[in-house]
Subunit: 510 residues, 2 copies
């Protein structure tokens, strides 16, 4: 028996993943843990994937609805994606196999703001007729003697799933370091209308909840013991392009500090997922800002660097997204990190109330932005959905500074990240303040659409695309399809995309 299950009653619930999975009927609605490749269940999903095959061999359907915190690891999204054991996925995905299934049109996906996901489930919008979910399948680090639960390496939407699921399956993962205990801050945002009060987080490092989950133990249907690593991708060392993007952002911060709009230690940093976001953190570590704080969604390697160098005092998030190397470093210094890192439910880490109050700096990657400042974070022409909006909208909409960053081109310069009309819009012109590429920082604050177009084309677009973007803009001004406030020609709005789909290049042939 695992020494991670100390509560007597729950010891009797220990069973294999297969036995636990057998409890889950076809069509069940599951709330599962997992946020980035951290803290997701690793055994029951594989057992479900296998069951889906067995049932299919018998000519019977087996598909479940899978709600999670955000992305997970291969044992969940890849295994259940491959076997099409999921009919509906929510609210985020980062797995390549699952993505292919969405883009093939065989698995349905709803891409949702992460701060909303738990609330919407709590409001009953994803439940059965009685508004409940069938099962919460949650990875945890340990079950204590008193039945309280030490969370795993992500908190995500777990509190919501515990609140609304009829039964629980707990995966106790012995791979997770027991010394995670004390790092979490579990605070529940009620789903009952009329019951909610202020969220008492006043600064990034406020602790307002408890270190463990308190759950209804009578709902625990199964406890499964695992010993499997979290799986997050290693980071690439920042390339030249990424370093230039980071430098433009640092320069912008300098300007804001000088103008008296930003304090010297900046404001709580939110930093998105991906290589560019990590490069900005590397840049900040090499820069001159001290005493920084972070109120963000995920802890990346770059955050650990900043904590190690002492430039960052505290990091609040809901999950880890550290590379295998980062994981080794994390475990080595876990006792120090426990004082510096706070893991909260995503309801809290991403809540507009807190983000607006403490005035974050939101920095997220984008796929494409149009000349008026609408941003596409999710859809790639010729391919389909990439990941999802994640927390980018939660932070972009509510922060004091909202910055989107990307290389100015993709696919060997054939694709411009700046286009006349974004082929999918996740963040509107009303929500974007800075568009940054290796060429510069387009500052959109206080500008009309036409003023933004000038700024974006001249500062952020790749020089070789500027003439054709200006050409589109000028001809739209001369002959607009819908006025000269946001000039467009609907006939040509997607001409960059259609040209790329035909010729493999957004630039016209010379």
């Amino acid at each position: 028996m695992s020494n991670r299950i100390l509560h007597k009653g729950l010891k009797s619930k220990v069973m294999s993943a297969e036995e636990a999975a057998a409890m889950i009927p076809n069509g069940a609605i599951l709330g599962m843990s997992g946020f980035t490749g951290a803290g997701y269940p690793k055994a029951v999903p594989i057992a479900l994937a296998k069951r889906a095959i067995e049932e299919r061999m018998k000519g019977k359907p087996f598909k479940v609805t899978a709600l999670t915190g955000a992305s997970t690891g291969p044992e969940l999204d890849q295994a259940m994606g491959l076997t099409e054991a999921i009919s509906f996925r929510f609210p985020y995905n980062g797995d390549a196999v699952m993505r292919e299934k969405f883009n093939a049109g065989v698995i349905e996906y709803q891409d949702m703001h992460l701060s909303h996901a738990g609330s919407l489930v709590r409001y009953g919008y994803y439940g059965r007729k009685d508004n409940k979910l069938d099962f919460a399948v949650i990875e945890v680090t340990k079950i204590k003697e008193d039945g309280t639960i030490v969370p795993s390496s992500s908190v995500g939407a777990n509190t919501a799933y515990f609140d609304v699921a009829e039964k629980y399956i707990l995966e106790v993962n012995e791979w997770q370091d027991e010394r995670l205990e004390g790092m979490h801050d579990i605070y529940t945002v009620s789903g009952k209308h009329g019951e909610r009060g202020p969220i008492p987080v006043m600064k990034a490092d406020d602790r307002v909840g408890t270190p463990t989950y308190t759950i209804d133990l009578s709902k625990v249907a199964a406890v499964v013991v695992t010993n499997n690593p979290d799986r997050n991708a290693p980071f690439k060392a920042p390339e030249d392009v990424h370093k230039k993007i980071a430098q433009h952002i640092l320069d912008f911060f300098d300007g804001e500090v000088k103008a008296g709009r930003m304090p010297k230690n900046l404001l709580p940093l939110q930093s998105g997922v991906g290589n560019i976001a990590n490069a900005v953190l590397v840049g900040l570590n090499e820069g001159h800002f001290e005493g920084m704080t972070s109120y963000t969604e995920v802890i990346q390697d770059g955050m650990l660097d900043l904590l190690d160098s002492g430039k960052l005092k505290v990091a609040s998030a809901t999950a880890f997204s550290v590379s295998p190397d980062g994981q080794v470093r994390f475990n080595k210094n876990i006792d120090r990190y426990r004082k510096q890192i706070i893991l909260r439910p995503q309801d809290v880490s991403n809540h507009p109330e807190v983000i607006r109050r403490i005035a974050c700096i939101a920095m997220n990657g984008f796929v494409e932005a149009d000349i008026y400042g609408h941003v596409n974070s999710t859809h790639i022409a010729g391919k389909g959905i990439e990941n999802g909006i994640g927390g980018s909208g939660d932070f972009a909409r509510n922060s004091a500074y909202t910055i989107f960053m990307s290389p100015a081109t993709a696919k060997d310069g054939k694709i411009s990240a700046i286009v006349p009309f974004a082929s999918h819009i996740d963040h509107t012109e009303h929500d974007t303040m800075g568009i940054v590429t290796e060429f510069g920082f387009a500052d959109l604050r206080g500008k009309s659409p036409k003023q933004r177009a000038k700024e974006i084309i001249e500062k952020a677009a790749a020089p070789e695309f500027r003439p054709i973007l200006w050409d589109y803009f000028k001809r739209s001004m001369a002959n607009p399809s819908a006025g000269r406030h946001t000039p467009h020609m609907f006939e040509e709005a997607f001409s960059f995309h259609t040209r790329f789909l035909k010729t493999g290049d957004m630039k016209p042939k010379k």
Copy 2:
């Protein structure tokens, strides 16, 4: 001397509107009062418009930046629009002349979420080099002996403008009923990062501030006395189409109450501007829901009906948008309304923190929605920008229920409000839960893009447009430009719009 100016020191500042306007230099940045046709300055803007003409006759430029709460009346936006006395307008406009200037490309406009407007100004993004505005030009009802100020018929962004303007010009409008005193609840959301705490509003009728503005009297440069009515358009009696839309919404509420997701007295209602929004209020007044509350932006005639019938207990807003008839009724019953109506700064009335906490039902008009649930609130094909996003995004993004409503067609059935790709996007697929037309209520909750397409086409689109919407969807599934998660054909995404621009009809010729 007006008996509305009781503070001794300020009596000496009384002057004509022309004298006050003469203090304002070319290029000045002005923060002005006004939200819908209520509480906007009525004399200084006309004087500025006249000055713009005089200066122009002398060959000199005269243009100012005009920041307001939201829309205003003809004395401001029409007069200053006609004379092009404004170079940059923010954050909302409802005036037809001003709109033409935007669409002609001669006045720049930034369309911004109303809850953000004041914050962004406070952060310094709209100010001079020193982050300040030059003047706040604010209509008030009365200056009390102690120098505190009784607000006028809107609060809007006035507290922000008082906070960041170097000098103030007060218009004391004797037309405003003195008995407005006590109806306001002035609470300031600080612009200083690190200083903000929770906004203590827990329910729609919580009063958390003071009934008057307390301002730095040394900054008052001029006091101008006026006696001019607010100007709001009369409402049309609900037409058949509007009544059907209202009925679908009421039926939806019934379903939610039955499902146990909504209490019997519903949730705090937010209701947008326009005829349809008013029709829904009329519908609610004829319906069976009792004990309702409202946490909204503007008080329309329909709200007064609901208060009069006793079905609505309280209405919190930032301004009035009542018809001339409604105004007469309002003044007659003002002593009762003072106990039922609370006017707050738009920072508070529209704040995501409060909206999410108290769980509003957001109901706003839309121009067009696409088959995947992206909503255009602002731009009309062949014409240009209509009004602006207003508070629709503040409420849509944060409410427990987010409903957009419009007739299914416009211009005698030639235009479909449901299109393949919205020609401008103000609210993304991530933010919309209900799309309602006279044909039905498309419930988008918990649905993937493809599931939403089916729901929207079958429930909300006009029957004559359904076949061509299905045709677009099916061919996009067969041959998608960016995968089958959100199937589109970029070549044809705006085909409804381009056809309309060519033939005057979105439907193809038979």
